[in-house]
């Protein structure tokens, strides 16, 4: 029986069937049965994602354009097999490799990069835990950060601490030319 607190019977929009335990209670405007949320709490791609993408693209393009107007891409002397520049610095993203190769061509040039690459490719298959919160994956985060830092340190060594003949030097000493971009 209907308790009194619910007030008077609603008007019969659809007649209630005596065989059912449910019935239409009310009609409301909306796109979802959830309160204050569209289905799955989603927004439409246009304009929400695409406009953000456009703004991001415009900002990046302006930055690129500014860089391209301010700084000229380098062009060195014409290639000549007779003379290797000293120091012959690779572009910055290869300086880490150059530093490794300076110790050994095979270990530094093949083994170390090969193992890093294999590790990167297999990473999702090696780390099979479902933990996603940072505090549950401290080891992984530490290892990965170390990996990134190691690369960065090698690059910085190559860029700033290597001079003619790939010998040690410091960025503030006179014989350190800048790394070749």
């Amino acid at each position: 029986m209907r308790p009194d607190s619910l007030g008077p019977e609603p008007p019969d929009i659809l007649p209630r069937s005596p065989h059912k335990t449910y019935g239409l209670m009310a009609l409301v405007r909306g796109t979802s049965p959830l309160v204050d949320a569209t289905p799955e709490d989603a927004v439409s791609t246009w304009p929400h994602l695409l406009l953000r993408g456009l703004i991001c693209a415009l900002v990046c393009l302006s930055a690129l354009l500014a860089a391209a107007m301010l700084f000229d891409a380098p062009l060195h002397d014409p290639a000549s097999a007779a003379e290797t520049p000293d120091p012959a610095k690779a572009p910055w993203y290869l300086l880490g490799l150059q530093e490794l190769v300076h110790y050994s061509a095979f270990i530094g040039g093949v083994l170390a990069p090969g193992l890093s690459l294999a590790g990167l490719v297999m990473l999702p298959y090696l780390d099979r835990s479902h933990a996603r919160r940072p505090r549950d994956r401290r080891t992984g985060i530490c290892l990965f950060t170390l990996f990134l830092l190691a690369n960065l340190v090698l690059i910085l060594i190559g860029a700033w601490f290597r001079g003619p003949g790939w010998s040690w030097t410091t960025p503030w000493s006179a014989n350190t030319p800048g790394g070749r971009p």
């Binding site: 097999a81 290797t84 150059q98 190769v101 300076h102 061509a105 790939w166």
Partner: protein
């Protein structure tokens, strides 16, 4: 058509499997063949190379005690009391051009800092092998001739005085 007709018979299944396997095998083999042929296509049968034997002038152009860098050949021509020798300037590490190290009587490489002694043997750095010695000979008209296509053991001099 009854539904059963569509179900493969057991014997049929294995025969079909066989055909399917054979089909896939032939297809994969053909694709592998095409890839192999393409790799073979890319790997040139002729390699552009300058003539390896070159005439480099008369012996008296190179005084005793001199070390001359023959730029277009990437070779050092050295003359001392024992005679002439030609030392490749191509670093045995990864191929940069070594320079004469005046201070240390040897050669050093700008790329990763390898150093070689006067005989071309590696002293410091990543290079493990010695710089190549190329044969030096006298041509019939009395000019010096080097052959960059061949490497000979260390210690082979062209001695002029003995003849």
């Amino acid at each position: 058509m009854a539904i059963q007709d569509l179900k493969p018979e057991p014997e049929n299944t294995s025969r079909r499997d066989l055909f399917a396997t054979a089909g896939w095998a032939v297809l994969s083999a053909s694709i592998a063949g095409v890839c192999g042929a393409f790799v073979r296509f890319l790997s040139s049968n002729t390699v552009p190379e300058a003539l390896s034997v070159s005439l480099i002038g008369r012996p008296d152009e190179y005084p005793v005690g001199s070390a001359t860098f023959l730029e277009e050949h990437r070779v050092y021509l050295l003359r001392d009391a024992r005679g002439f020798r030609a030392l490749s300037a191509v670093c045995t590490h990864l191929g940069c051009t070594v320079v004469k190290d005046a201070a240390r009587h040897g050669f050093r490489c700008p790329c990763h800092g390898s150093r070689f002694n006067e005989q071309g043997e590696p002293v410091v750095g990543p290079a493990r092998r010695a710089l190549a010695w190329h044969p030096v000979a006298l041509s019939r008209d009395g000019r010096l001739q080097i052959d960059r296509g061949r490497a000979i053991g260390a210690g082979h001099y062209l001695a002029l005085d003995r003849r």
